[in-house]
């Protein structure tokens, strides 16, 4: 298990927040930078300035690694729903790594904001003050779950950078569109690119996170490189991968899964064991990597984050607004 414990040589907080750029270009660069050491600020835009595999950046003490048992890296990276690369769980690991480039990558901030623009992902991460690690529960709507040690930054920081106007009530995320690289997008039936959305108060909530890595390693393509939304109190399909555009709007975004099956998937997608999927129960979940005899685990309200998020939905009928 690659869970790290703080070591004496690790970067001081100021160094991490101002200089950590979380782009691991490829194995060669990685080996070079390990040799040079952490003072290597002059290694160039793509160089890894902070952590390497096994000992990420800075662990956010509010989301400690010790509290949850993380799922093995090999399962997180080979059991994926990323229909742009096929609808089988092993498709993304295969097809997302056959030439699809997620580096360099540009993200656009647009809509009802005062600071629109296009940003290179690395620049953006530097601007936002670097990377931290959070260990979150992950619950798929298909009733399986994982615990993922994400690396990334709070979405709230990105929202602050965009400087939304008061009319902005929602954040709409759009993924990439590249049918040449993503075989699943050649079939337009699902309506690409993938779209997701959050209410402003959900987007600025302390739990909302943008992941750039897992277990101290750069996010693999199949997990939604280079930027992926993580909202641990919602079903996994809310976690849009490979974000290309973040747009602030006053209209509730019509997210892809709601468009595909509005009676099964809604806008909120809050984990709720009391509201079943029409075809299966949401009362329990299968723990990925638990083995044949692990049995099932009871699903928690808001995936165990009820204390932190319940106030966002006071007065909202959660059965109607699923």
């Amino acid at each position: 298990m690659n869970i790290r414990t703080p070591k004496d040589w690790e970067l001081s907080e100021s160094a991490v927040t101002s200089e950590s750029v979380y782009r691991l270009r490829n194995r060669r660069d990685f080996l070079k930078t390990v040799g040079v050491g952490l003072a290597g600020a002059a290694l160039g835009p793509r160089a890894l300035l902070a952590a390497t595999a096994g000992f990420p950046d800075k662990e956010n003490p509010l989301y400690p690694a010790s509290a949850l048992k993380p799922t093995a890296y090999e399962y997180i990276t080979s059991y994926n729903n990323f229909y742009e690369f096929g609808t089988d769980k092993d498709g993304p690991a295969k097809y997302a790594n056959q030439g699809w480039k997620t580096d360099p990558w540009t993200v656009e901030l647009a809509g009802l904001i005062r600071a629109p623009g296009k940003f290179d992902v690395n620049e953006l991460i530097k601007k936002l003050g670097g990377i931290e690690q959070r260990v979150y529960r992950h619950r798929c709507v298909e009733a399986w779950s994982m615990v993922v040690p994400w690396d990334g930054f709070p979405l709230a920081k990105l929202v602050a950078l965009a400087d939304p106007k008061p009319e902005a009530k929602y954040v709409k995320f759009t993924s990439f569109l590249d049918p040449k690289s993503a075989v699943g997008q050649q079939d337009s039936y699902l309506g690409w690119p993938y779209v997701e959305g959050l209410r402003m108060d959900e987007a600025t909530h302390e739990l909302a996170f943008i992941a750039t890595g897992i277990y101290g390693k750069t996010l693999p393509n199949q997990n939604g490189a280079p930027l992926r939304l993580v909202t641990p109190w919602k079903y996994g399909f809310k976690g849009i991968k490979s974000i290309g555009k973040i747009e602030f709007t006053d209209k509730e975004p019509y997210n892809t899964w709601q468009r595909l099956a509005p009676n099964e998937y809604g806008f909120y997608a809050n984990v709720n064991p009391n509201v079943d999927h029409p075809r299966w129960s949401q009362g329990s979940e299968r723990v990925i990597g638990g083995g044949i005899f692990s049995g099932r685990q009871t699903t928690l309200m808001f995936n165990g984050y009820e204390k932190q998020v319940a106030s966002l939905y006071k007065g909202l009928d959660l059965t109607k607004n699923f």
Partner: protein, 214 residues
């Protein structure tokens, strides 16, 4: 049809082997330590067994149409000798699929909530039908029922197939194409078979009311 193929198709051992092999297939990804399978091995097994059950159910239902459409074919004739074996094996895979579902969901208790969901309820009904058909395929019961009633009862196989197709279609978030590959050929064969049988019956009853020859 060449002699070797004829010999093989006459051998019950050969047919048994063909029917057991799909059941052993899951060993392959397990030995390869395939992480996609290792992530949730019971789910993989569940989908695999269900898939095999559907294929075998569709397969057994194609046997009679093949014989009707190709009455001179030795191959069709040879395959038709194994209808009971293939049919019962469809039931066995369905039973293993249900057993895996119960283990995956943590016990018999899940059945109480299953029956409230159409997707799962159809699976249970299809399984029950296959159970009845498997039990009544024993020689003793075939004799007890008599040809006419046995034939009527075993028409339920078509109902089971339709329910299985729906159940399989509803099993993933999106409609899986494999449902079409499995059941459309069967549907087409059945249509052709019905047309042929209807035509034979009409030909037998000529306008002059001559005796039936079929």
């Amino acid at each position: 049809m060449n002699a070797l193929l004829e010999k093989l198709l006459r051998s019950k051992v050969f047919i048994w082997t063909l029917l057991i092999l799909p059941g052993l297939w899951p060993v392959v990804p397990l030995l390869r330590h395939d992480p996609t399978v290792g992530a949730d091995p019971l789910k993989y097994l569940l989908h695999h067994l269900g898939f095999v059950a559907c294929v075998l159910l569709a397969a057994v239902l194609t046997l009679t149409p093949l014989r009707v459409i190709f009455p001179k074919s030795k191959l069709a004739l040879a395959l038709n000798r194994h209808r009971r074996l293939v049919g019962v094996s469809a039931f066995v895979y369905a039973a293993l699929h249900l057993a895996t579902h119960l283990v995956h969901e943590g016990g018999f208790g899940v059945l109480a909530s299953d029956i409230k969901k159409p997707f799962l309820l159809t699976g249970l009904i299809a399984f029950t039908l296959l159970l009845v058909l498997a039990v009544t395929s024993l020689n003793r019961l075939v004799r007890a029922l008599g040809a006419k009633h046995w034939k009527m009862l075993h028409r339920l196989a078509y109902v089971a197939a339709a329910l299985a197709a729906y159940h399989q279609a509803a099993a993933r978030k999106l409609f899986p194409m494999q449902v079409l590959w499995i059941f459309v050929p069967l549907a087409l064969l059945e249509i052709v078979r019905l047309v042929i049988t209807r035509r034979q019956r009409n030909r037998a009853l000529t306008p002059s009311g001559a005796a039936r020859t079929g």
